[in-house]
Amino acid sequence: MTAVRALIDRLVDSDEAVTVDKRLHWDGEVTAVAAEAARTGGPGIVFADTPGELGLASGTLAATNGFRSQSPSTWSRLCAALDLESSSYRALLSTIATAAEAEPDRAPIEATVSVEPDLYNLGLPTLEPGGRPTVTLGVIAGKVDSEVTWAPIRGDVQRYDHLRLSVPKAFATRCAPKAEVVVALGVPPGAYFAAIERWTLDRPDAAVLPRAAGLTDVSVGTHGSILVPAESESLLAGNITSQVTQPEGPAAAWEQLCETESIDVSISTITTRPEPIVPIAPLGTPLADDVAITGLIEAARLFRRVNNYWGVAPMQWIQLPAEAGLGFCIVSSEILYAGFDWQLANALFSFSDLFDKVLILDEAADPSDLPRAIDNMWVKAHPANDWVFSGPNAPAPTAPEYRTDGEPGSELYINATWDVSWDEEYIAPRVTYENSYPENIRERVEKRWRDLELEDL
């Protein structure tokens, strides 16, 4: 169920992905439409008519715009990607934070159709007309210390048989020179999640395959001497040739989580599944897939790490909303005692390099209601007392566009929780339907609702 084509079918069936039938060229047009769909918080897109060997899709691993009410569920695509029954953010966070490792099943690889080994024939999208075809949302499989691992990639086509890829530096430095590698595109989402998660730890961990199998039922098969996700849509096999400067174009969001290095890969064979379909991300676009995935992985890592930090688990949930470009962290927590807000915010700053702004909400806050979360920042936090700035010596975060030279600066946390020292009577009740109207009134309204045939609203 976690194969990417199964995910896409599921999204189409549930109206969370639509098909664009118009013929679009991979040279700029596909990315332009994918970017616009992402920016508007739209559904996943299946491009039905593009030239090249690979079919393309976008937004299949994205979250929707949490500020828009029409969204069926902000997180449902990502939940579907991990084959979760629930589409709630809490379930998603908990699954990624707590999934145990597992031995992956073995299966024959599906991408067995050989195609001409010319990368330009694949139909990979360029970001702009005349640009280089790009590779996103895939993994590179190779051996590190004689163990097969998968690492996230972002890159472009340099020549018909050469890719230039940005990979985690730890992966690049631990690969043997001229190492045999396989670039897998259209991989099961669990494989991609695990690759990012393991290689962006403070101490990168090559044990990606058991992590992927623990997240969801990823099976593996052998291609050459390399284990790859068996259900990958396309496999580009070859060897690392050199380590060079960075690929062109905007970086993928996961690259903000770790140091990266570039490698060139000479491609000798290309195989695909019949009618292959490969998800792509319009890099640099708000709400693109890579941003949502990276925010989710970092949030889960913080949830696991910080919530065990004090021997109790006061955090209800934590988010790095894609809407804020990963530069802003929202956490819902019990405030254990006066000053705990300061401890919590600074623990988060210590454990993540992405952001320098934290918003703390009460434990009752709803993770699916981003507008309310930000509303609380504006109305519950006292602008004189609850916007707390650190001294100027904090390290520069990686997600924002300022202080990119690494110059230190201040961090900010906003405490939008009720003051623990306040009397209960000081705490203003929220205006809600349930709080505002007694049960008998609500029953009358429900009857009118039916009588007026408003059920479809």
């Binding site: 500020f67 470009g325 600066g409 900010l412 205006v431």
Partner: protein
């Protein structure tokens, strides 16, 4: 063309399929408001309760749709409801730049004089709604208050809710720092004179829109309403004072806000989504006359429901009326402002201004200008963003705040408790709010602004070299059945914040 009465606006809503009529009797006691809140949350039609104790109730009539909060107000003003945000703002600004003088009509030609009660006017004969279970009383909270400056010809139109106390008295929320409250506290009351007022309930849309705008002191609000309408507002004399009121109104309460008298006001489920307290004293209105149409329509706003994703009249009027007015006002004051718009999920507390200005000195000046004028009491935050960021696009503004506002140098005036605040907030304690005579909090607070414009060195170039324009890409998505949101097609080749593809 603009609708010239609330009834004509209601008819237009019905023609658009935006109205649900309830003919069965409804109670003013929570029931009408409860259904209204449900409809607000569901982005449903506007409810007209045709049988409410001899009158009619209209719930949140100016609530816009959740993606396009200006659309129904555009309908009321005779503009296309399909206008983009930018087109709508510029259309309203154009109208405000061309005021139209009002005309005065005879009493017999004024619909609001169909029924005239001067001997024993009785507020309690009308179905003022009890809006939330925790409220201090029943309210008129969607009206235009007409009040004159005692020292000039200027008459202010404004929007101050009134809590009904008995047949002939109410308390009125007057917060010093706003125009009408200042007239009362610092002129009439100091002279121990009553302030004559008229509360115009169910005025035509252009009048209601004008009453929430900050028309500069001394200017004729009726002229600006005429500009918005695209034709003269018809005014008629009151029965018991010299004020002129919109003749097309559903109902007019004439009276005096008496000096030295206070009545309880609140608590109330307020615009920011919380039930604020404590109960406090506010100036007292003494009613002298009530005039109205037959079976008048009483509009009301279910405050507190226009927060988060949900719209109500207050939140939509912020976006559709205050925003364009503020944009025009700032431009007129000489500031380079592309747009000033509210944070859609949080009415009246935070505004975003898009500007080409990069000068920190100029932004400081701009913030101070706003905070010392119209933004003083309710607004706590301004966020400055680049001119290619739509202030009404919360995603884009949050992105700018997260990725362009450096806590080291772009957050200003936080922590300085030296500015005034209305007591309707929830972050001050009851003792900090106090109960001082002029209706402001006893304790001061901070008014802050955030510079979320890009640094000069990181100014993102416009992405105008795509294979497709954004408009073309959106058209392809539309053809595929995608509702592509509300970005402005006229700005289709401009990049959003962080959009570098």
């Amino acid at each position: 063309m603009s609708t010239d009465s609330l009834r004509a606006y209601v008819d237009r809503l019905a023609a658009h399929g935006d109205l649900v009529q309830i003919d069965d009797p409804v109670s003013w006691n929570l029931e009408a408001s409860a259904l209204t809140m449900r409809l607000n949350e569901a982005d449903g039609p506007i409810p007209l309760f045709r049988n409410a104790d001899g009158a009619q109730l209209l719930g949140d009539p100016y609530r816009g749709s959740q993606c396009r909060p200006w659309d129904r107000i555009a309908t009321g003003l005779g503009l296309s409801r399909e206008l983009s945000r930018r087109e709508y703002y510029e259309a309203v600004i154009d109208r405000l730049r061309n005021p139209v003088d009002p005309v005065t009509v005879d009493r017999e030609d004024a619909p609001c004089k169909s029924v005239v009660e001067t001997e024993e006017p009785d507020l309690l004969e009308l179905p003022w709604p009890f809006i939330h279970a925790g409220d201090g009383g029943r309210y008129s909270n969607l009206h235009t208050m007409v009040a004159p400056d005692p020292d000039s010809e200027w008459v202010d139109w404004s929007y101050h809710r009134a809590m009904i106390h008995d047949s002939q008295s109410a308390s009125v929320l007057l917060l010093a720092g706003e125009q009408t409250p200042n007239l009362y506290y610092y002129k009439y009351e100091r002279r121990e004179e009553p302030m004559p007022v008229a509360i115009v309930v169910g005025a035509e849309p252009a009048v209601q829109a004008t009453s929430v705008m900050w028309i500069p002191t001394g200017r004729s609000e009726a002229r600006y309403a005429g500009g918005l309408k695209g034709g003269p507002i018809e005014l008629v004399e009151c029965e018991t004072n010299d004020l002129l009121v919109p003749a097309s109104a559903e109902l007019v309460i004439e009276g005096r806000i008496v000096p030295g008298a206070r009545r309880d006001e609140g608590p109330f489920g307020d615009y920011f989504g919380y039930m604020h307290g404590p109960r406090r004293s506010m100036p007292a209105l003494q009613v002298d006359a009530i005039t109205h149409r037959p079976r008048p329509i009483i509009p009301y706003c279910v405050e507190g429901s226009g927060v988060g994703r949900t719209e109500n009249t207050t939140s939509s009027m912020e976006a559709a009326c205050v925003g364009p007015d503020a944009t025009l006002g700032l431009r007129a004051a000489g500031y380079e402002v592309e747009c000033c718009g509210p944070w859609q999920s949080t009415p009246r507390t935070v505004y975003t201004i898009s500007t080409p200005t990069k000068s920190s000195e100029r932004l400081h000046e701009l913030a101070n200008f706003i905070y010392t004028t119209w933004g003083m009491l309710h607004v706590d935050f301004f966020v400055f963003v680049d001119e290619d960021v739509d202030p009404l696009d919360q995603r884009a503004v949050l992105d700018a705040l997260a990725r362009h506002a450096d806590p080291s140098e772009d957050f200003h005036q936080f922590g300085r408790e030296n500015m005034p605040k209305v007591p309707l907030n929830i972050y001050q304690t009851p003792s900090e709010k106090g109960n001082i005579q002029t209706g402001t909090s006893k304790a001061k607070t901070a008014k802050a602004y955030i510079d979320a414009t890009r640094d000069r060195s990181h100014a993102s170039p416009e992405a105008d070299h795509r294979a497709l324009s954004r408009a073309d890409a959106r058209e392809i998505l539309r053809e595929a059945g995608v509702a592509v949101g509300e970005s402005d097609p006229t700005r289709s080749n401009l990049s959003s914040t962080g959009d570098q593809t």
